[in-house]
Subunit: 345 residues, 2 copies
DNA sequence: CTGAAAGCGCTTACAG
DNA sequence: CTGAAAGCGCTTACAG
């Protein structure tokens, strides 16, 4: 005999009462509850999750799906570790546990998600790195699994998401560079169909046109979202004639490779070319001259993601109703020296 | 009605037969099996994990515990993402899924692990960042949960582990530096009780003494395992009088901060001081002069970890019996320019 | 306030 | 080869 039966036997009461005491039901004698709690603590009893889940229909586990083979995860300077802290702060309030579910690179992300959802391993999902068309969203809606997407998508009609304000950053960066006299501004963009790439480039184009400049597709430099990608962007940049006087990057780590490539060619960021990075990353903080970039609190983003997710789960919807809306997450300019010069007119 | 009952009704057969067909039992008519598989595919049926786990007593999920707030995770240049790929390659063969379980920084790691284990969320665990005394190991042994530790520990008597060969690296680095004429060699070590710190420093000491040099505790520079840590090591190094002519680092990212601090002081790695880094990290590859460091395949390490773990699980022990042993994982020297000079005698 | 019992969705001896 | 039934460990109406 084991589990709750063993505990009940040890206390010489019924398993029903043990369960009620453990779950904090009000209709339990205070002394009985105390005895149960004490014995559970002493014997190290914790309810078997399978039995509990089967009966209750919920697991108290929230899944965070990541695609471990992808550039955006491998190269994002522990973006996820930061966000996780925020998520857990909120989940801890409700005894929800977070499980990170890494989709193997050989497996189709949609099939992987389908499997996780069908097995009912988790009560709700957080997905990220949304594509322009992202069938995962349709799947989660169809299966009625509460979820929040970190990133927008054209899929799924209305659903819950939070996205970094890529358009805001593109806008701000273009404005800033133009105010310093730049007219030929390149941009680094991802090679994949990740939605943020479209948002970023579209906003860049709109910002240019707002200033009366013509959008030139040749200035959109595609690369992997890594230092290597930044290095290759550097090469492409140097090969353009006439050479752009400024570049805006989309991933934090690109800056490191770009600096390296430029240095090799004797082109100095902040003197010979203006560079604006994307997110302020621990690793990029060491660049010299200091990189102009944008800051956000990963902890706060995680908190907001969690609260938005809970607002879409029946059991918590009421508590978090004020978070039941989509959000563009702002990033704040961190001026550096990498674009700190005016271009002669 | 839902789940397997619905599927059985749809096919007008019993749930027992459906279950047997789905689980690949031999005693099912081929045509029946075909119909069941087809219907399951079409209706998107996947067995509810809770029902399955409750009945079978196993979940088909392997947990990887990480401590998300810790230096060694946040700053290890996506060490884990690399290992995960290898783990999944092996687990995929047996339809095992990997769930990463991040211990919240506010929670005691031992209590967290205890909770995860007691809930029976996973069939087996992988733990990492083992401490010299690590009660998690005693807990897993006591609860008879199959596990493998990435890192050794004094706890738990005999248990399954794989550890990077920190001693081998310390040895090799000391030998290499001494052969180039260095006599005053500093070492960077962690501030925490993580076991690898003890192993590394002990081996460094033994190597020095083997060469007839005296171990000097003042040359052991404690720091966080990050770029910041490397920067602070740089400061400590410059403050030593007489200044050491060489330094050996224990974490990959320290090199970046160290280089920066040395450059600020006009001290050039590879000319004025010899630097040997630890693991070859994507990010450190960009350092100039190129860092002398050590290489390992994270994918292979992940594969071996998984196979070792499976060798300790009753259902798989036989298949992986050849992996049922502890291992020191070798690292290969990648000579760079950061120590490429001989010291005048 | 407590106990006895039903039932969550599965898998697997057992009988036929 | 298939079906009927037991039972995995819980939670929760229901009765008292």
């Amino acid at each position: 005999m084991k589990g709750i039966h063993q505990l009940a036997k040890h206390l010489d009461i019924s398993i029903g009462t043990v369960s009620r005491a453990l779950n904090g039901r009000p209709d339990v004698n205070a002394e009985t509850r105390r005895r149960v709690l004490e014995a559970a603590e002493q014997l190290g009893y914790v309810a078997n999750q399978s039995g509990r889940s089967l009966r209750k229909g919920s697991t108290n586990v929230i899944g965070l799906m990541i695609e471990s083979g992808k550039d955006n995860v491998d190269n994002s300077d522990n973006f996820f570790f930061g966000v996780i802290g925020g998520l857990q702060t909120v989940f801890a309030r409700h005894n929800l546990d977070l499980a990170i579910l890494p989709c193997p690179s050989e497996e189709d992300p949609l099939e992987y998600l389908q499997r996780m959802v069908a097995r009912r391993l988790v009560d709700a999902m957080i997905i990220s790195a949304t594509q322009k068309i992202d069938k995962r969203i349709d799947l989660l809606i169809e299966k009625r699994v509460p979820f929040v997407a970190l990133g927008r998508s054209h899929s799924g009609g209305s659903h819950t998401w939070i996205d970094l304000d890529f358009a805001g950053v593109a806008n701000s960066a273009v404005d800033r560079l133009i105010s310093k006299g730049h007219r030929r501004i390149a941009i680094a963009a991802p090679t994949t169909d990740i939605n943020l790439g479209f948002v970023f480039v579209d906003a860049y184009r709109a910002a240019l046109e707002r200033h009366g400049l013509t959008y030139d597709p040749a200035l959109v430099l595609r690369a992997r979202s890594s230092e290597d990608g930044g290095y290759s962007v550097g090469g492409d940049l140097l090969a353009l004639a006439p050479r752009p006087t400024a570049i805006i990057l989309i991933y934090e780590l690109m800056a490191i490779g770009l600096y390296r490539r430029l240095m090799e060619a004797g082109v100095k960021p902040g003197c010979d070319i203006a560079v604006i990075g994307f997110r302020e990353a621990p690793r990029a903080r060491f660049l010299q001259p200091a990189l102009t970039c944008y800051r956000l609190s990963l902890q706060d983003l995680g908190t907001e993601l969690a609260e938005t997710l809970l607002s879409s789960m029946p059991d918590y919807a009421e508590i978090y109703s004020s978070h039941a809306c989509n959000r563009l997450w702002p990033l704040d300019l961190v001026p550096g020296e990498s674009d700190a010069f005016e271009l002669a007119p």
